[in-house]
Symmetry: C2
Subunit: 324 residues, 2 copies
């Protein structure tokens, strides 16, 4: 199968809102008046962002999900995406699975594939996603203010536990591993929550490298510091919840590490004024997404991690860095 047959068979679908679908030199997009276009690119490399054994449908889902998560962190509504794909060879089973997983998530978010590129090379998936947001309402990293609450969506740390199992450093009962693996391989981008937080959250970031590391970007952009409650964060690990399938398996120190520096969560970390607590909780309910308060923004620079009694936690937390 040649390059153009491959595109036609697995990636070409009728154009919807884009005036032009896949197949011209460019796709054309026209945001509605008063809207800004939010744009983000993420590149996934085999062995770094996914294991070679991953189910291709789950990989198709994840490749788009990590991009939609960036839109969510801006409060933008997904519109369209481009896909550039380097493949070592044409594997029709793989392509069928990958495109099925990709389009299932795209359709769930009404997000249209409008163009891209395919080439031969070491497996690499680069997606650029487009969303829109009313001008001036995008959630930015720079808006956190001293006194704001720090919130996290959904559950964190589970993906890291799965990674540690695949690395052979941990073992888990089958049921727990399946849940952890689903969290790692099929993250749910918090698009509805991000949109619901427009005008409520003062800043937001999506958690890809680890909660503390990504929160650090907010602190830097906002020129503030923060105090984070390690045990409140650790309670956000689905696996380790009281009725979770890994309840009691890990000690407090391990749980704090998974939650605060796990990475690959694709949840939102966001801040909001104390006066907006009820509004944040309503946004969570409206988007069917758990939201948990786990810290506060300080005027004093730096990041302080404390336990349930407010005492400093001396544990060291690293964030993921591709080149560190």
């Amino acid at each position: 199968m040649g390059e153009f047959d491959l595109i036609a068979r697995y990636f070409k679908r009728p154009a919807k809102r884009s005036p032009l679908g896949v197949g011209d030199d460019c796709a054309l997009l026209a945001p509605a008046p008063g809207m800004q276009l939010a744009v983000s690119s993420d590149m996934l490399v085999e062995g770094r962002h996914f294991l070679s054994t991953v189910d291709p449908a789950r990989l198709g889902h994840k490749a788009l999900a990590v991009n939609l998560s960036d839109l969510a962190a801006c409060g933008a509504k997904p519109l369209a995406f481009t896909l550039a794909l380097a493949l070592p060879a044409v594997d029709e089973d793989w392509l069928a699975g990958f495109s099925r997983g990709l389009f299932a998530l795209a359709d769930a978010h009404d997000c249209e594939l409008v163009g891209g590129d395919t080439t031969r090379g070491p497996l690499n998936i680069c997606i650029t996603v487009f969303g829109d947001v009313p001008a001036g309402t995008a959630l930015l990293r720079s808006g956190a203010r001293a006194g704001d609450d720090i919130w996290v969506s959904g559950t964190i740390g589970d993906a890291r536990i799965a990674l540690e199992v695949f690395r052979g450093r941990l073992s888990l009962p089958a049921e727990a591993l399946e849940l952890a693996r689903a969290r790692m391989e099929q993250p749910a981008p918090r698009v509805a929550l991000g949109m619901a937080l427009r005008g409520i959250a003062s800043s937001a970031v999506d958690i890809s490298d680890g909660f503390l590391g990504d929160l650090g970007h907010v602190l830097g952009a906002s020129r503030v510091g923060a105090t984070v409650e390690a045990d409140a964060a650790a309670r956000c690990i689905a696996l380790c919840a009281e009725d979770g399938p890994a309840a009691g398996l890990f000690d407090a120190q391990a749980q704090r590490g998974f939650a605060l520096s796990g990475g690959d969560d694709y949840e939102l970390a966001f801040t909001a004024p104390v006066s907006a607590r009820a509004a944040v909780e309503a946004a969570g309910r409206a988007s069917d997404t758990a939201v948990t308060r786990i810290g506060r923004i300080d005027a004093e620079p730096g990041l302080r991690v404390v336990d349930a009694r407010g005492a400093p936690v001396s544990q060291r937390f690293d964030s993921f860095d591709h080149f560190a």
Copy 2:
């Protein structure tokens, strides 16, 4: 050097027209009223699109140039781009050269880097470029009509000659190789010509896989056929021109092959009504770009290649396909 230092040192510059520069979850773009946004993605892989020995500044230029060439083929004006980069290791000399070449071309086209991603992996460069074009004026592949002239910009075939030298299949005098290599490694995207052809050309495509193969996309999208004059095309090879540094080195058959199926030219192939010949030539002069008429669109489907006397050329021409 870590991932974020790398971005800060080599790729972060003050934001210009984008409300947000590199460093938030998304970049924000707001096309002016009445404008459509043209979007294209291209992925470059070492060993497929460039040799490992290429000068990094030239590679930075080329990675953006091939994307700007897609905007040119739509008649769009460049605005912004994202860069996703997989690097096997942090090589500061390489990064300094790459970013210098990239930004030199970006600045020449007033095209702003607004976001992206960096990760470790086999060298892979994925750029998504954004331009704008007044709604309804984009040059499409689907507009060619029977009777239209077929035109080509600049010079074609030279990049392929360089590739054949690097593959060890041809040899060239040093001066000729330098010219051919510059054409291969530093293509000049025909942005000004593409913009000047709005309202004049009936269709356009940029030549990446080879003239005949890319023209084939126009014929398919426009549901027409074409007759192409092989010798008129061969005269567009800069190296082989009468006063060119490779004049007389190759026979007619070889020259036809370089010109018609060479690939990597990043020139425009476009069509226009016969009545627009003077307007096309004026657009060429206004954009300081040579334009040459090398065929005509036919109502009859299929692609016919003829010699200077109109007799069919039996030579076989292949187009580049990454998976064929």
